[in-house]
Symmetry: C2
Subunit: 199 residues, 2 copies
Protein backbone atom coordinates (compact mmCIF):
# COMPACT_ATOMS: atom_id res chain seq x y z
CA UNK A 1 0.00 0.00 0.00
CA UNK A 2 1.73 3.14 -1.22
CA UNK A 3 0.08 6.53 -0.97
CA UNK A 4 1.05 8.85 -3.81
CA UNK A 5 0.01 12.25 -5.09
CA UNK A 6 0.89 14.21 -8.22
CA UNK A 7 2.11 17.72 -7.49
CA UNK A 8 1.52 19.91 -10.55
CA UNK A 9 3.64 23.05 -10.30
CA UNK A 10 4.27 26.02 -12.58
CA UNK A 11 7.41 28.14 -12.10
CA UNK A 12 5.53 31.40 -12.77
CA UNK A 13 2.99 30.66 -10.05
CA UNK A 14 3.43 32.46 -6.75
CA UNK A 15 1.45 29.98 -4.64
CA UNK A 16 3.48 27.10 -6.13
CA UNK A 17 6.49 28.53 -4.27
CA UNK A 18 5.39 27.86 -0.65
CA UNK A 19 3.85 24.56 -1.81
CA UNK A 20 7.14 23.45 -3.37
CA UNK A 21 9.12 24.42 -0.28
CA UNK A 22 6.94 22.53 2.19
CA UNK A 23 5.33 19.60 0.38
CA UNK A 24 8.10 17.06 1.02
CA UNK A 25 7.99 17.61 4.80
CA UNK A 26 4.19 17.41 4.93
CA UNK A 27 4.12 14.35 2.65
CA UNK A 28 6.76 12.46 4.64
CA UNK A 29 4.83 13.13 7.85
CA UNK A 30 1.88 11.29 6.25
CA UNK A 31 3.82 8.56 4.44
CA UNK A 32 2.84 9.95 1.04
CA UNK A 33 5.14 9.87 -1.98
CA UNK A 34 5.01 12.98 -4.16
CA UNK A 35 5.40 12.89 -7.90
CA UNK A 36 6.63 16.32 -8.99
CA UNK A 37 5.02 17.30 -12.32
CA UNK A 38 6.17 20.50 -14.03
CA UNK A 39 3.67 22.01 -16.47
CA UNK A 40 2.78 25.30 -18.15
CA UNK A 41 -0.30 27.29 -17.21
CA UNK A 42 -0.10 29.58 -20.25
CA UNK A 43 -1.78 27.15 -22.69
CA UNK A 44 -4.40 26.27 -20.06
CA UNK A 45 -5.23 29.93 -19.40
CA UNK A 46 -5.31 30.42 -23.17
CA UNK A 47 -7.86 27.61 -23.60
CA UNK A 48 -10.05 29.46 -21.07
CA UNK A 49 -9.75 32.69 -23.04
CA UNK A 50 -7.37 34.30 -20.55
CA UNK A 51 -4.46 36.19 -22.11
CA UNK A 52 -2.66 36.91 -18.83
CA UNK A 53 -2.68 35.74 -15.23
CA UNK A 54 -5.95 36.58 -13.41
CA UNK A 55 -3.75 38.52 -10.94
CA UNK A 56 -2.98 41.04 -13.68
CA UNK A 57 -6.42 40.95 -15.31
CA UNK A 58 -8.06 41.68 -11.93
CA UNK A 59 -5.67 44.09 -10.14
CA UNK A 60 -7.63 44.01 -6.85
CA UNK A 61 -7.11 40.25 -6.77
CA UNK A 62 -3.44 40.71 -7.66
CA UNK A 63 -2.92 43.17 -4.83
CA UNK A 64 -4.61 40.79 -2.41
CA UNK A 65 -2.51 37.84 -3.61
CA UNK A 66 0.69 39.72 -2.86
CA UNK A 67 -0.33 40.51 0.70
CA UNK A 68 -1.63 36.97 1.18
CA UNK A 69 1.69 35.55 -0.03
CA UNK A 70 3.65 37.86 2.27
CA UNK A 71 1.63 36.58 5.24
CA UNK A 72 1.93 32.92 4.18
CA UNK A 73 5.69 33.16 3.62
CA UNK A 74 6.21 35.02 6.92
CA UNK A 75 4.37 32.21 8.71
CA UNK A 76 6.64 29.63 7.00
CA UNK A 77 9.81 31.71 7.54
CA UNK A 78 10.32 31.90 3.79
CA UNK A 79 11.67 35.09 2.19
CA UNK A 80 9.35 36.62 -0.42
CA UNK A 81 10.33 39.09 -3.15
CA UNK A 82 8.09 39.46 -6.20
CA UNK A 83 10.20 39.29 -9.38
CA UNK A 84 9.70 41.79 -12.18
CA UNK A 85 8.15 41.32 -14.65
CA UNK A 86 5.34 39.34 -13.12
CA UNK A 87 4.55 36.71 -14.12
CA UNK A 88 7.97 35.47 -15.12
CA UNK A 89 8.51 33.52 -18.31
CA UNK A 90 8.76 30.01 -16.91
CA UNK A 91 9.45 28.06 -20.11
CA UNK A 92 13.21 27.52 -19.58
CA UNK A 93 12.83 26.30 -16.00
CA UNK A 94 9.87 24.08 -16.89
CA UNK A 95 11.96 22.44 -19.62
CA UNK A 96 14.92 21.96 -17.29
CA UNK A 97 12.67 20.38 -14.64
CA UNK A 98 11.19 18.14 -17.34
CA UNK A 99 14.68 17.05 -18.41
CA UNK A 100 15.42 16.00 -14.81
CA UNK A 101 13.90 13.21 -12.73
CA UNK A 102 13.49 12.19 -9.12
CA UNK A 103 15.47 14.00 -6.44
CA UNK A 104 17.43 16.22 -8.89
CA UNK A 105 14.12 17.53 -10.29
CA UNK A 106 12.96 18.41 -6.78
CA UNK A 107 16.25 20.05 -5.81
CA UNK A 108 16.31 22.12 -9.00
CA UNK A 109 12.67 23.19 -8.63
CA UNK A 110 13.19 24.33 -5.06
CA UNK A 111 16.40 26.18 -5.98
CA UNK A 112 14.64 27.94 -8.88
CA UNK A 113 11.70 28.98 -6.67
CA UNK A 114 14.15 30.25 -4.07
CA UNK A 115 15.87 32.43 -6.67
CA UNK A 116 12.60 33.63 -8.20
CA UNK A 117 10.38 34.35 -5.22
CA UNK A 118 12.91 34.35 -2.37
CA UNK A 119 15.32 36.73 -4.13
CA UNK A 120 13.20 38.23 -6.94
CA UNK A 121 15.52 37.09 -9.73
CA UNK A 122 14.60 36.53 -13.38
CA UNK A 123 14.31 32.81 -14.00
CA UNK A 124 14.10 33.11 -17.78
CA UNK A 125 17.74 34.23 -17.69
CA UNK A 126 19.96 31.19 -18.43
CA UNK A 127 22.55 32.54 -15.97
CA UNK A 128 20.00 32.32 -13.16
CA UNK A 129 18.80 28.92 -14.31
CA UNK A 130 22.43 27.78 -14.26
CA UNK A 131 22.77 29.20 -10.75
CA UNK A 132 19.70 27.20 -9.63
CA UNK A 133 21.26 24.05 -11.12
CA UNK A 134 24.53 24.75 -9.29
CA UNK A 135 22.71 25.30 -5.99
CA UNK A 136 20.94 21.99 -6.57
CA UNK A 137 24.33 20.31 -7.06
CA UNK A 138 23.63 19.68 -10.76
CA UNK A 139 25.53 20.27 -13.98
CA UNK A 140 24.51 23.55 -15.71
CA UNK A 141 25.03 21.70 -19.01
CA UNK A 142 21.54 20.31 -18.44
CA UNK A 143 20.31 23.63 -19.91
CA UNK A 144 21.44 22.39 -23.33
CA UNK A 145 19.68 19.08 -22.92
CA UNK A 146 16.50 20.94 -21.90
CA UNK A 147 16.31 22.41 -25.42
CA UNK A 148 16.05 19.00 -27.08
CA UNK A 149 12.88 18.25 -29.02
CA UNK A 150 12.04 15.26 -26.80
CA UNK A 151 12.00 17.50 -23.71
CA UNK A 152 9.83 20.11 -25.39
CA UNK A 153 7.39 17.40 -26.43
CA UNK A 154 7.35 15.84 -22.95
CA UNK A 155 6.49 19.23 -21.42
CA UNK A 156 3.72 19.77 -23.95
CA UNK A 157 2.34 16.30 -23.20
CA UNK A 158 2.48 17.01 -19.45
CA UNK A 159 0.54 20.25 -19.94
CA UNK A 160 -2.08 18.39 -21.99
CA UNK A 161 -2.27 15.76 -19.25
CA UNK A 162 -2.75 18.43 -16.57
CA UNK A 163 -5.58 20.01 -18.56
CA UNK A 164 -7.20 16.59 -19.15
CA UNK A 165 -7.09 16.02 -15.40
CA UNK A 166 -8.97 19.27 -14.81
CA UNK A 167 -6.09 21.52 -13.71
CA UNK A 168 -6.87 25.20 -14.27
CA UNK A 169 -4.37 26.76 -11.89
CA UNK A 170 -1.26 26.01 -9.88
CA UNK A 171 -0.27 24.39 -7.70
CA UNK A 172 -2.64 21.48 -8.22
CA UNK A 173 -2.62 18.06 -6.65
CA UNK A 174 -4.12 14.93 -8.22
CA UNK A 175 -4.62 11.67 -6.35
CA UNK A 176 -4.58 8.19 -7.97
CA UNK A 177 -8.39 7.99 -7.60
CA UNK A 178 -8.77 11.20 -9.62
CA UNK A 179 -9.42 13.81 -6.96
CA UNK A 180 -8.17 17.28 -7.89
CA UNK A 181 -7.11 19.80 -5.24
CA UNK A 182 -6.13 23.33 -6.19
CA UNK A 183 -3.92 25.71 -4.29
CA UNK A 184 -1.22 25.77 -1.65
CA UNK A 185 -4.06 25.93 0.88
CA UNK A 186 -5.33 22.51 -0.25
CA UNK A 187 -1.92 20.80 0.13
CA UNK A 188 -2.81 19.17 3.47
CA UNK A 189 -6.27 18.09 2.24
CA UNK A 190 -4.70 16.48 -0.84
CA UNK A 191 -2.08 14.60 1.17
CA UNK A 192 -4.65 13.50 3.73
CA UNK A 193 -6.92 12.23 0.94
CA UNK A 194 -4.02 10.36 -0.70
CA UNK A 195 -3.02 8.76 2.62
CA UNK A 196 -6.60 7.77 3.46
CA UNK A 197 -7.51 6.31 0.07
CA UNK A 198 -4.22 4.54 -0.76
CA UNK A 199 -4.59 1.08 -2.23
CA UNK B 1 -8.72 44.37 24.69
CA UNK B 2 -11.40 43.01 22.36
CA UNK B 3 -10.51 41.07 19.25
CA UNK B 4 -12.97 41.61 16.42
CA UNK B 5 -13.25 40.68 12.77
CA UNK B 6 -15.68 41.68 10.04
CA UNK B 7 -17.20 38.70 8.23
CA UNK B 8 -18.36 39.80 4.77
CA UNK B 9 -20.78 37.26 3.35
CA UNK B 10 -22.87 37.01 0.19
CA UNK B 11 -25.91 34.72 0.07
CA UNK B 12 -25.17 33.61 -3.49
CA UNK B 13 -21.65 32.49 -2.56
CA UNK B 14 -21.08 28.78 -2.08
CA UNK B 15 -17.98 29.12 0.09
CA UNK B 16 -19.79 31.60 2.34
CA UNK B 17 -22.03 28.69 3.40
CA UNK B 18 -19.46 26.58 5.33
CA UNK B 19 -17.87 29.81 6.63
CA UNK B 20 -21.22 31.02 8.01
CA UNK B 21 -21.94 27.68 9.63
CA UNK B 22 -18.61 27.39 11.45
CA UNK B 23 -17.30 30.90 12.11
CA UNK B 24 -18.99 31.44 15.47
CA UNK B 25 -17.50 28.24 16.94
CA UNK B 26 -14.02 29.04 15.63
CA UNK B 27 -14.24 32.67 16.78
CA UNK B 28 -15.42 31.81 20.28
CA UNK B 29 -12.54 29.33 20.64
CA UNK B 30 -10.17 32.27 20.04
CA UNK B 31 -12.09 34.93 21.96
CA UNK B 32 -12.84 36.87 18.78
CA UNK B 33 -16.11 38.75 18.23
CA UNK B 34 -17.50 38.51 14.70
CA UNK B 35 -19.31 41.35 13.00
CA UNK B 36 -21.57 39.80 10.35
CA UNK B 37 -21.64 42.04 7.25
CA UNK B 38 -24.02 41.15 4.41
CA UNK B 39 -23.08 42.59 1.02
CA UNK B 40 -23.62 42.00 -2.70
CA UNK B 41 -20.91 40.68 -4.97
CA UNK B 42 -22.75 41.56 -8.20
CA UNK B 43 -21.77 45.24 -8.26
CA UNK B 44 -18.18 44.32 -7.29
CA UNK B 45 -17.91 41.73 -10.07
CA UNK B 46 -19.47 44.31 -12.40
CA UNK B 47 -16.79 46.88 -11.50
CA UNK B 48 -14.18 44.25 -12.50
CA UNK B 49 -15.90 43.72 -15.84
CA UNK B 50 -17.35 40.34 -14.84
CA UNK B 51 -20.94 39.75 -15.90
CA UNK B 52 -21.39 36.46 -14.07
CA UNK B 53 -19.69 34.45 -11.34
CA UNK B 54 -16.21 33.21 -12.35
CA UNK B 55 -17.57 29.71 -11.69
CA UNK B 56 -19.87 30.07 -14.70
CA UNK B 57 -17.44 32.06 -16.86
CA UNK B 58 -14.77 29.37 -16.34
CA UNK B 59 -16.68 26.03 -16.30
CA UNK B 60 -13.59 23.98 -15.36
CA UNK B 61 -13.27 26.13 -12.24
CA UNK B 62 -16.99 25.79 -11.57
CA UNK B 63 -16.82 22.01 -11.80
CA UNK B 64 -13.86 21.98 -9.42
CA UNK B 65 -15.61 24.29 -6.96
CA UNK B 66 -18.55 21.90 -6.71
CA UNK B 67 -16.36 18.91 -5.91
CA UNK B 68 -14.29 21.00 -3.49
CA UNK B 69 -17.46 22.12 -1.69
CA UNK B 70 -18.73 18.54 -1.48
CA UNK B 71 -15.49 17.47 0.18
CA UNK B 72 -15.44 20.48 2.55
CA UNK B 73 -19.07 20.00 3.60
CA UNK B 74 -18.58 16.23 4.08
CA UNK B 75 -15.64 17.00 6.37
CA UNK B 76 -17.83 19.42 8.38
CA UNK B 77 -20.86 17.08 8.35
CA UNK B 78 -22.87 19.73 6.48
CA UNK B 79 -25.38 18.69 3.81
CA UNK B 80 -24.67 20.20 0.39
CA UNK B 81 -27.13 20.55 -2.50
CA UNK B 82 -26.44 23.10 -5.23
CA UNK B 83 -29.56 25.19 -5.89
CA UNK B 84 -30.75 25.89 -9.41
CA UNK B 85 -30.27 28.37 -10.96
CA UNK B 86 -26.74 29.00 -9.77
CA UNK B 87 -25.90 31.53 -8.61
CA UNK B 88 -29.11 32.37 -6.80
CA UNK B 89 -30.48 35.91 -6.74
CA UNK B 90 -29.42 36.95 -3.25
CA UNK B 91 -30.94 40.44 -3.12
CA UNK B 92 -33.95 39.61 -0.93
CA UNK B 93 -31.93 37.72 1.68
CA UNK B 94 -29.20 40.36 1.71
CA UNK B 95 -31.84 43.03 2.41
CA UNK B 96 -33.45 40.94 5.17
CA UNK B 97 -30.05 40.37 6.81
CA UNK B 98 -29.36 44.09 6.52
CA UNK B 99 -32.68 44.87 8.22
CA UNK B 100 -31.69 42.65 11.16
CA UNK B 101 -28.94 43.09 13.73
CA UNK B 102 -26.90 41.04 16.19
CA UNK B 103 -27.97 37.48 16.98
CA UNK B 104 -31.14 37.59 14.80
CA UNK B 105 -29.01 38.52 11.76
CA UNK B 106 -26.74 35.54 12.44
CA UNK B 107 -29.63 33.13 13.00
CA UNK B 108 -31.39 34.27 9.83
CA UNK B 109 -28.22 34.06 7.74
CA UNK B 110 -27.47 30.53 8.91
CA UNK B 111 -31.07 29.43 8.32
CA UNK B 112 -31.03 30.93 4.79
CA UNK B 113 -27.73 29.20 3.94
CA UNK B 114 -29.11 25.94 5.28
CA UNK B 115 -32.16 26.23 3.00
CA UNK B 116 -30.09 27.30 0.00
CA UNK B 117 -27.05 25.03 0.07
CA UNK B 118 -28.16 22.37 2.54
CA UNK B 119 -31.51 21.76 0.80
CA UNK B 120 -31.04 23.38 -2.63
CA UNK B 121 -34.02 25.74 -2.25
CA UNK B 122 -34.54 29.04 -4.05
CA UNK B 123 -33.78 31.88 -1.65
CA UNK B 124 -35.17 34.62 -3.91
CA UNK B 125 -38.62 33.11 -3.25
CA UNK B 126 -40.27 35.10 -0.41
CA UNK B 127 -41.87 31.87 0.86
CA UNK B 128 -38.43 30.39 1.42
CA UNK B 129 -37.12 33.62 2.94
CA UNK B 130 -40.10 33.53 5.30
CA UNK B 131 -39.27 29.92 6.15
CA UNK B 132 -35.71 30.93 7.00
CA UNK B 133 -37.03 33.69 9.27
CA UNK B 134 -39.37 31.20 11.00
CA UNK B 135 -36.53 28.71 11.51
CA UNK B 136 -34.53 31.55 13.03
CA UNK B 137 -37.41 32.29 15.41
CA UNK B 138 -38.13 35.62 13.72
CA UNK B 139 -41.24 37.34 12.40
CA UNK B 140 -41.71 36.83 8.61
CA UNK B 141 -43.12 40.39 8.53
CA UNK B 142 -39.49 41.50 8.48
CA UNK B 143 -39.63 40.82 4.71
CA UNK B 144 -41.79 43.96 4.35
CA UNK B 145 -39.36 46.03 6.37
CA UNK B 146 -36.51 44.77 4.21
CA UNK B 147 -38.05 46.57 1.22
CA UNK B 148 -37.78 49.99 2.86
CA UNK B 149 -35.58 52.57 1.17
CA UNK B 150 -33.34 52.90 4.23
CA UNK B 151 -32.51 49.18 4.09
CA UNK B 152 -31.78 49.30 0.36
CA UNK B 153 -29.47 52.26 0.94
CA UNK B 154 -27.73 50.56 3.87
CA UNK B 155 -27.02 47.48 1.73
CA UNK B 156 -25.68 49.66 -1.08
CA UNK B 157 -23.44 51.48 1.39
CA UNK B 158 -22.21 48.16 2.82
CA UNK B 159 -21.32 46.93 -0.67
CA UNK B 160 -19.42 50.17 -1.35
CA UNK B 161 -17.62 49.74 1.97
CA UNK B 162 -16.67 46.15 1.11
CA UNK B 163 -15.27 47.28 -2.23
CA UNK B 164 -13.37 50.15 -0.58
CA UNK B 165 -11.83 47.63 1.81
CA UNK B 166 -10.57 45.56 -1.13
CA UNK B 167 -13.17 42.77 -1.12
CA UNK B 168 -13.43 41.08 -4.52
CA UNK B 169 -15.03 37.79 -3.48
CA UNK B 170 -16.86 36.11 -0.64
CA UNK B 171 -16.53 35.23 2.08
CA UNK B 172 -14.02 37.89 3.09
CA UNK B 173 -12.71 38.82 6.51
CA UNK B 174 -11.38 42.24 7.47
CA UNK B 175 -9.49 42.93 10.70
CA UNK B 176 -9.50 46.30 12.54
CA UNK B 177 -5.92 46.92 11.36
CA UNK B 178 -7.03 46.57 7.73
CA UNK B 179 -5.92 43.05 6.84
CA UNK B 180 -8.11 41.36 4.24
CA UNK B 181 -8.49 37.59 4.09
CA UNK B 182 -10.46 35.93 1.29
CA UNK B 183 -12.16 32.56 1.35
CA UNK B 184 -13.53 29.98 3.73
CA UNK B 185 -10.01 28.54 3.77
CA UNK B 186 -8.64 31.76 5.28
CA UNK B 187 -11.17 31.83 8.15
CA UNK B 188 -8.70 30.48 10.71
CA UNK B 189 -5.90 32.78 9.53
CA UNK B 190 -8.20 35.80 9.82
CA UNK B 191 -9.36 34.89 13.33
CA UNK B 192 -5.80 34.15 14.43
CA UNK B 193 -4.65 37.50 13.06
CA UNK B 194 -7.51 39.32 14.82
CA UNK B 195 -6.74 37.58 18.12
CA UNK B 196 -3.02 38.27 17.86
CA UNK B 197 -3.28 41.95 16.88
CA UNK B 198 -6.19 43.00 19.14
CA UNK B 199 -5.76 46.35 20.85
Amino acid sequence: MTATVEFWFEFASTYSYPAAMRIETEAQARGVIVEWRPFLLGPIFGAQGLKDTPFNIYPTKGKYMLRDLQRICAELDLPFVLPSPFPQNSLLCARIATALEGAPRIRFAQAAYELEFGEGRTISDPLNAAEALRRAGLDPAIIEKAQEESVKMALRAATDEAMAKGCFGAPSFVTPDGELFWGNDRLEAALNWAAKHAK
